[in-house]
Symmetry: C2
Subunit: 134 residues, 2 copies
Amino acid sequence: MVVFDLQDDEVDRIFQALADVTRRDIVVRVTQREQSVSALAASYAMSFAAVQKHVAVLERARLVVKERRGREQIVHPNPGTVREAARLLEHFEELWRFRAQSISDILSEDREEDREEDREEDREDREDREGERS
Amino acid sequence: MVVFDLQDDEVDRIFQALADVTRRDIVVRVTQREQSVSALAASYAMSFAAVQKHVAVLERARLVVKERRGREQIVHPNPGTVREAARLLEHFEELWRFRAQSISDILSEDREEDREEDREEDREDREDREGERS
DNA sequence: GTAAAGTGCAACCAAATGGTTGTATTTGAT
DNA sequence: ATCAAATACAACCATTTGGTTGCACTTTAC
């Protein structure tokens, strides 16, 4: 259904870029309001060069793009990439929902004896059966 | 509805665990069929200890759990964590959709919907403005 | 009992990460 | 023309990462 045109190393870069609280915050900030690199740098208790590197990591992951405006670089979000990452995780969830037989007794409540429960009475509420985890 | 009860370092661990193609593959494999660590190790062109470390990274991120069965450890997925990560990314997407004015002409095509948000008709408490989504 | 399978863990190593400082370059303002 | 602001980038450093090998321990098989 969902076609993933992402290479493995692209996904690596995306998730690795998101694996840092400063970089996630940068993504949120530039989504709410486009900002220059130095404006971003003023927000964090680290050097300008450090923030510059974080932006570079996000740029390599295509989570943001930079646009030259005069002497400053404006950082824009690239929402398509966030979307692709979200779709990828939803695909993982789908895998789980598709195959949740014998693991279910560990993390959910299900008996293995009544295997056939494909009733067509109410198919609509099957979406969030095992979603009640905190 | 969706409250993010994840600490920053938990999110760090989740995304960092997902930032490796071997570990993502392990998550997919154990979702499709629960496997022991050594069964997993047989699938990859690396040492047993390396795979063991990958599983440990996934375990620290709570993306999988291990269950002792005799002399082997069965690796199970922890779908709740994948779900939480997916919700987090969807929250990012939502941020984007909520504030997409002047950047939109660069990267997207988004159209404007109901923009008015400040109806002061009968709010008794508006202290929970940023914790609540959807 | 002995052997092998499965695992845990420590030590080691190369490369990547996340920070620093310093220097150079481009651009805007005076 | 000069100077400051904004950025780029290199060098350096400590820590983490992703792999290895080796060894010890527990559990099953014979």
